[in-house]
Symmetry: C2
Subunit: 139 residues, 2 copies
């Protein structure tokens, strides 16, 4: 029998819970290094390597989500909150999309049972309006 997310959360270590708490309080997403700094800032010290280890574990459990930013670092967020973006190829900004355009589809896929879906990511790449202007006028 597959474990429910609730069961999985019960087995989390206290450090893992602390990291989840930070993720919860982060507006969008956060890098491992920022998370490490955030913990120190609250005097909840944890080694950088441990932060990486925990983030990897949470990701493997399907509790956290990773996405690679345009500058190459991994950004983490909680799966329980949807995260979708419009990412500008020019300035690298990621503008969050308010709604999830494909959650219905996910429900349908879930029922197929061929693949157990924990979460998904959706990202549009292109040019944000200010970069569009800059490229059209400047060049």
């Amino acid at each position: 029998m597959e474990k429910s997310l609730v069961e999985m959360k019960a087995q989390l270590s206290s450090s893992q819970k602390r990291i989840i708490k930070v993720l919860k309080h982060t507006q969008y997403e956060i890098s491992a290094q920022e998370l490490y700094a955030e913990l120190r800032h609250h005097n909840q010290n944890l080694g950088l390597a441990t932060v990486y280890r925990i983030l990897k574990a949470l990701t493997l459990k399907g509790l956290a989500r990773v996405r690679t930013s345009t500058n190459g670092e991994s950004l983490y967020s909680l799966v329980e909150e949807d995260r979708h973006y419009l990412t500008c190829l020019h300035c690298g900004a990621s503008i969050p999309l308010a709604d999830c355009p494909i959650c219905n589809l996910e429900t349908t896929l879930r029922q197929s049972k061929l693949f157990t879906i924990y979460y998904h990511t959706l990202e549009f790449f292109g040019l944000c309006s200010s970069c569009q202007q800059q490229l059209n006028t400047g060049l």
Copy 2:
């Protein structure tokens, strides 16, 4: 006036065209290092650094797409072919989805003009059927 993709392609250097050709012949996606090896294999030598430079340029132009695999390397593919996946959190396999479930939505978004969309990515994360079995029985 924004440049069309056709105009952009006309400006590509011969090395860039060679790399695009390899991408075209690659079934799904390919890493920079694999692409480098592939070129050498066809006696079309090109330095690894140059391969990285070209892939970055193509990505910035919106001609190529990058995705980070579960083991951390960047995988490239041509934007002109849709790429969507079911990715297993346990074994890391990425199973391509045949159809694009959101292309209609993309058309709608395109018309808003607030953000110029070149391409998008969609990825579902979870457990593939064999890992589901393995985890259910083995553990």
